[in-house]
Symmetry: C2
Subunit: 372 residues, 2 copies
Amino acid sequence: MAASASGPQTLVLEEAVRLACGRSLESVEVAYETFGTLEDAGGNAVLVCHALSGDAHVASGPGPAGSERPGWWEGMAGPGLPIDTDRYFVICANVLGGCSGTTGPGSVDPSTGERYGLRFPLVTIEDMVEVQARLLDSLGVDRLLAVVGGSMGGMQALAWASRYPERVNAVVAAATTGRIGAQAIAFNEVGRAAILADPAFNGGDYELDLPPAEGLAIARMVGHITYLSQESMREKFGRRLRDRDEHAFEFVSEFEVESYLAYQGRRFVERFDANTYLYMTKAMDYFDWQPPKSMLPRFLVTSFTSDWLFPTAQAREIVRVLLERDAEVTFAEIASPYGHDAFLLETERHGALVAAFLARALEDGRCLGGAL
Amino acid sequence: MAASASGPQTLVLEEAVRLACGRSLESVEVAYETFGTLEDAGGNAVLVCHALSGDAHVASGPGPAGSERPGWWEGMAGPGLPIDTDRYFVICANVLGGCSGTTGPGSVDPSTGERYGLRFPLVTIEDMVEVQARLLDSLGVDRLLAVVGGSMGGMQALAWASRYPERVNAVVAAATTGRIGAQAIAFNEVGRAAILADPAFNGGDYELDLPPAEGLAIARMVGHITYLSQESMREKFGRRLRDRDEHAFEFVSEFEVESYLAYQGRRFVERFDANTYLYMTKAMDYFDWQPPKSMLPRFLVTSFTSDWLFPTAQAREIVRVLLERDAEVTFAEIASPYGHDAFLLETERHGALVAAFLARALEDGRCLGGAL
């Protein structure tokens, strides 16, 4: 059983997906990419789970034209990198509810011929995992060497350990939490309120080329502040003015940090869907991890000192409940000024930990005769 | 020269106010309240400066009907309280650009007969101080025993020391900063963006009873998160659901923190003007304090451990530059879980410091023969 690297693909699930909310989705498509080669013994498969605004394109290449664009974890996944596509068969799929190829609120409901919009069912992190499991079935991956994710991707990695403990050998949960706190829920709610208040939102029924751009941009601006640290914002922007020496005394973007946020907001609207933003944030709000009771995989839990969105205390809480269950846990808090974004940026120090953890998991699996 | 307690009053300035932006306001009204009695020697006057959403009503009573409603610093100012209206003649005025009686963007421009809206000039913290100085002139207060303020009010207190060092004996700067950082500017900009994006905003030309309610509410929600600490939000709300045991799987407010924020947003719209919100946040963004070179008053600088909006490091920076100038500075960081709001809530511990500081300033003034 060997699969070659394939680039962007789409899988149509054969059976309906029953969701945590009680509803079912009869027709689900999954956009995914794979990198590297699945070994005959099947023991080198690594599922990478993306965060709120990510997609299946975790790394550049291989594949058809366009696949050379940088992936969202470019320094972490690829040939010779910590998630080494020369050694591992790496799978990354756009999550259920997403807007980059997998079925979500922007998809057409086959029962009506119209886009779902807010008629799309609310999905949970566990629902995302269920769809990923179906994808692995179709790829012939019975068992994962590891599931790896940061932020909302880390939530999926944790959920994998609980929902399919028999299919996961190792879990990397980076910059994540078993449950977000009141402040993070509050920031998510502000973003949702900004989208819902935009007249272009129209109850979720907008044309995809006429999105609630202002509301989504504001949501992204709020989010972006929470991804950075006070320290990194001070270093990066301070109180510098952009293209001027004196204050404008007008309501224009004049501080660099204002221009930067406005730019981030605009750019996000070009690549992300407002309805999906609502669904992703709600999935994060709902996530309330119950660790597995048995067959615990080994864990690597990482946090970053300046991450105030998913702070180290919440990572330590994951570690605490795992140790209570006698799990094998490696925990590292990495010193970084980059806030929550550090899990994307600190590929060197973080990458060394992930590389060693995955290599050891692979080695131990081989010592067990490849049976994992 | 003695003035009695008077309750709400309005002063019409006799001369135009020239502003930092270069423009002038020909006609300025100032809404203010006074409490207590100005001593003949004039040495017991205390100016209290309010924060972004405050007004002249620092404490309940005395005055006509309605003045019994609680003031915004109710536990701090009043008979027998730290800012003791039995001992001090306490003055508090709505700031220039405000929406509680003092001339601001909601006022009618006498030259056009229309509301200013965004045609109102941008005002600075120093412009606010200038108007307060005119008010003191009219009240016969040549010199202040102290100027006291927290947050944006603390900025005004600092600006008083620089602009009128000869008129200030003591300064209380609570939970404030000489200049806000990139993160605080960013949060202010998000709030402004939400207001500007609301179609009801109409470029600032809205009827006061048809305000950009959704935009202003979102701005307040963002602000409110920054006034609380992660710790206090966790204590107060955690992940508790409101009026339900299970998730709704709909886009409704279901976590208590969501309901609370939505309520704070709605309530704010009832009492505050969106244009003024723009002007106040911009004044804070612009503030860049240059300490006085001579005649420095004595200072009490306070900060609160969990205040991440105006963190202790920024208070320490104020202290540092004051000590470089050989000023007499008392600094205290007060342990509190309440975030930036602590300056309003920690009236006991914070109040004891303020009370002692003011009493000593009064005593020292009297030892100098009342000449201050």
